[in-house]
Amino acid sequence: MRSEAAVRADELHLAHHFSSLERQTDAARLGMWLFLATELLLFGGLFCAYSYYRWMFPDAWAEGSHHMSVGLGTINTFILLGSSFTVAMSIHFARVAKPKLTVLMLAISIVCGLAFMGLKGVEYADHFKHGLLPGKYLTSPDVHEPAVGMFFVLYYLTTGLHAIHVIAGLTVLSVMMVKAHRGVFTPEYYTPLDMGGLYWHLVDIIWIFLYPLLYLVV
């Protein structure tokens, strides 16, 4: 027997062209995973360029990574990992019908995301001050290898694209927070939150790749 809540969720959220809410959720989940695959391939192009140039200019890569501030990068990594955890917790609380905790967890995630962007901004400003800029704009006097410019081209391209994704992710999380606050999510229906969470994990996981590739070359 279907519970009353399930029937209500069907009434509220089931689109006319699906036969059941389970199928609709399956569809949404599959669609989201496919979308995440496209995101990975979007970065894949840059990772490809990264590997190729790293193989061409190993010394420049080593030198480039020395100009990175490993401390800030590490802190940022932990901040993002933490935010992923809180997003996962928010889904858990939606599932066990604790809307207030859901909102709280999302709020923490958003704060973490903003902190990440802030620290990234500090890093960018620091590079800017030292003339650690891409390609021909590289003016730093302590750079020896000529191809360090290329390292910074890829640094700015990958982290820039990632930052755009963080902003998109933050927008998604904010919308989810508002929805959670309005009590849209129930244990029967929390698909949008689930999808938003997947997206945030993707943003996180891309950083997990970027961090060692850019900060921990040697």
Binding site: A15, H16, H17, F18, R23, D26, A27, L30, G31, L34, F35, A37, T38, E39, L41, L42, F43, G44, G45, L46, C48, A49, Y52, Y53, M56, F57, A60, P134, G135, K136, Y137, P146, A147, G149, M150, V153, L154, Y156, L157, L161
Partner: protein, 559 residues
């Protein structure tokens, strides 16, 4: 661009079912704001036909210029912009969305017994993304111009003085439309099949669309990031592809062809799906090897990802890579061979009716085999050294992309026209146009094969005198081709306005999409569909689902 398609409010024949998707809301807004996959499909159809027309005009201008070996009516820069426009419009705005977004949208849910695609709102969004991207790119090309060719090869593209940004951004945006469509189809096919419709009972068109969608989803993002990188390069000069700063222009080519080779299969796979369906409907017979055709669709989608290097045989790739990509390209050719033989096999012991779309099937088979085999020839490394970037290549890919893909598009248009618009076109004129187009097509491109043999490189504004005769022949053929298209435009327009109303299943097809009304009602079916049989099994007569609203439709007009 998206003016409401044949709105049937003013339809004089007025014979559509009261609840057909065409009559369910006749205001402009009811079209622009629709969630109905059929309306989205029809709007896409209008857009891609507009793009085909535009690309065709550019092609004619190019061919007219090439009547003369020296400078004539347009200068070199205009010529270069024209072939760039022709390439970008035809590849990104016509061929890639043509069959999946227009016919796929319309037919996939009908064929699998779903009431709509999985994400109807995203589907409408993909149309607007497409329009925004195409509009931006066209505006950019007419204003700022781009003269790089559709391939955007660095370092020419990154150092070109032309304003490339709007074009790159436009194509990037259109890529999103392609991705959204692909995701939508994969999810729809996975989760929304009617009960009892197993994978191995799916219509072959759906298999073709499925393979296409995989490529769209996996390859397009790589093009996206590449276009962004070129835009950054062009605007800021960071040096990602600039050899003076350690960059490598070959990397750009690798990333480009990683998308653009599979993109060829985005263009041809749905066409193959169309042919699989129409060949069965023409011959009233089951496909010779259903599984072989279905598997080969997926095979193409998979192996197609590993052959991009054959575009770079003379670009400075190592001998080893050349050999590797050459072998892999031979394997991708096999899937096409499998399909071709199975289509021909399907005709065996069939009951073939000669309709307009059958003419296009014959054209498709011939163009695909000839175009495909010249592709194999081009993938033979030593031969490619002579042919690379000559008119031979131009003729080869036009055989595949125009010859085969466009024939499939026209076959689809003629086969599903009654389904989509509920009216019939004139078969006699249809055949005349088909014959004209095929003759014109051969007359355009066979001389180009010979020009390539003779050594004329592509993208040539002027050319040495000894290439002239063949160029004139090619232009003459192109005019014939254009004439054929004009005929089609006229009789289809006439059919739309004055066409005789169709019966539900004019071709006696067993395809699932014919089980509902023509044109279908808004929610596709009057009751949830049951698909007890195989969609290609012609041992039994076709079922036409009795419709409550329209118990009887008069049948049997002479053509």
């Amino acid at each position: 661009m998206s003016q409401p398609a044949p709105s049937s409010a003013q339809h004089p024949s007025g014979a559509h079912h009261a609840d057909s998707y065409l009559t369910d809301g006749t205001t402009v807004m009811s079209w622009l704001n629709t969630r109905d996959h059929k309306r989205v499909g029809v709007m896409f159809l209008i857009c891609v036909i507009a793009m085909l027309f535009m690309g065709g005009v550019f092609a004619m201008l190019i061919r007219l210029k090439l009547l003369f070996p020296g400078a004539a009516f347009i200068d070199a820069l205009t010529y270069n912009r024209l072939f760039t426009l022709h390439g970008v419009v035809m590849v990104f705005f016509f061929l890639i969305p043509a069959i999946p977004s227009a016919f796929g949208n319309f037919l996939v849910p009908l064929m699998i017994g779903a009431r709509d695609v999985a994400f109807p709102r995203l589907n409408l969004l993909s149309l607007y993304i497409y329009l925004a991207g195409a509009g931006l790119a066209l505006w950019g090309m007419i204003h700022g111009a781009a003269d790089t060719g559709w391939t955007f090869y660095a370092p020419y593209s990154t150092t070109s003085p032309e304003k490339l940004f709007p074009v790159l951004l436009g194509v990037f945006i259109v890529g999103f439309s392609s991705i959204v469509t692909g995701i939508n189809f994969i999810v729809t096919i996975h989760t929304m099949r009617a009960p009892g419709l197993t994978w191995w009972k799916m219509p072959l068109f759906v298999w073709g669309i499925y393979g296409t969608s995989i490529i769209q989803v996996l390859a397009t993002p790589v093009l996206g990031i590449l276009l962004l990188s070129i835009a950054v390069e062009h605007a800021l000069g960071w040096g990602l592809f600039d050899p003076a700063r350690g960059g490598d222009p070959l990397l750009m080519q690798h990333l480009f062809w990683f998308y653009s080779h599979p993109a060829v299969y985005i263009m041809i796979l749905p066409g193959m799906g169309v042919i699989s369906e129409t060949v069965c409907a023409s011959a009233h017979k089951n496909p010779f090897g259903y599984r072989a055709i279905a598997y080969s669709s997926i095979g193409i989608a998979f192996v197609g990802f590993f052959t991009w290097g054959h575009h770079m045989f003379v670009a400075g790739q190592s001998t080893f890579s050349n050999g590797l990509f050459a072998v892999l390209s031979m394997f991708v050719g096999i899937f096409t061979a499998i399909k071709t033989f199975n289509w021909v096999g399907t005709l065996y012991k069939g009951a073939i009716a000669f309709k307009t779309f059958f003419a296009y099937i014959c054209g498709f088979l011939y163009f695909l085999v000839f175009g495909g085999m010249t592709g194999i020839a081009l993938a033979t490394v030593s031969l490619d050294v002579h042919w690379h970037d000559t008119y031979f290549v131009v003729a080869h890919f036009h055989f595949i992309m125009v010859g085969a893909a466009l024939m499939a598009f026209l076959a689809a248009l003629h086969y599903w026209w009654p389904k989509m618009f509920g009216s019939r076109y004139h078969e006699g004129w249809g055949l005349v146009a088909a014959v004209l187009i095929m003759l014109g097509f051969n007359a355009t491109f066979i001389p180009q094969f010979l020009l390539g043999n003779n050594g004329m490189p592509r993208r040539y504004y002027t050319y040495p005198e000894h290439f002239r005769a063949l160029n004139v022949a090619s232009t003459a053929g192109a005019s014939l081709l254009a004439f054929g298209f004009i005929i089609i435009a006229v009789y289809l327009a006439v059919a739309l306005r004055y066409g005789r109303r169709t019966e539900q299943n004019p071709w006696g097809s067993k395809g699932f999409e014919w089980l509902t009304d023509s044109p279908p009602p808004t929610h596709n079916f009057h009751e949830d569909p049951q698909y007890p049989e195989d969609p290609h099994d012609y041992r039994t007569p076709p079922l036409t689902q009795p419709s409550a609203a329209h118990p009887e439709v008069e049948v049997g007009h002479a053509v």
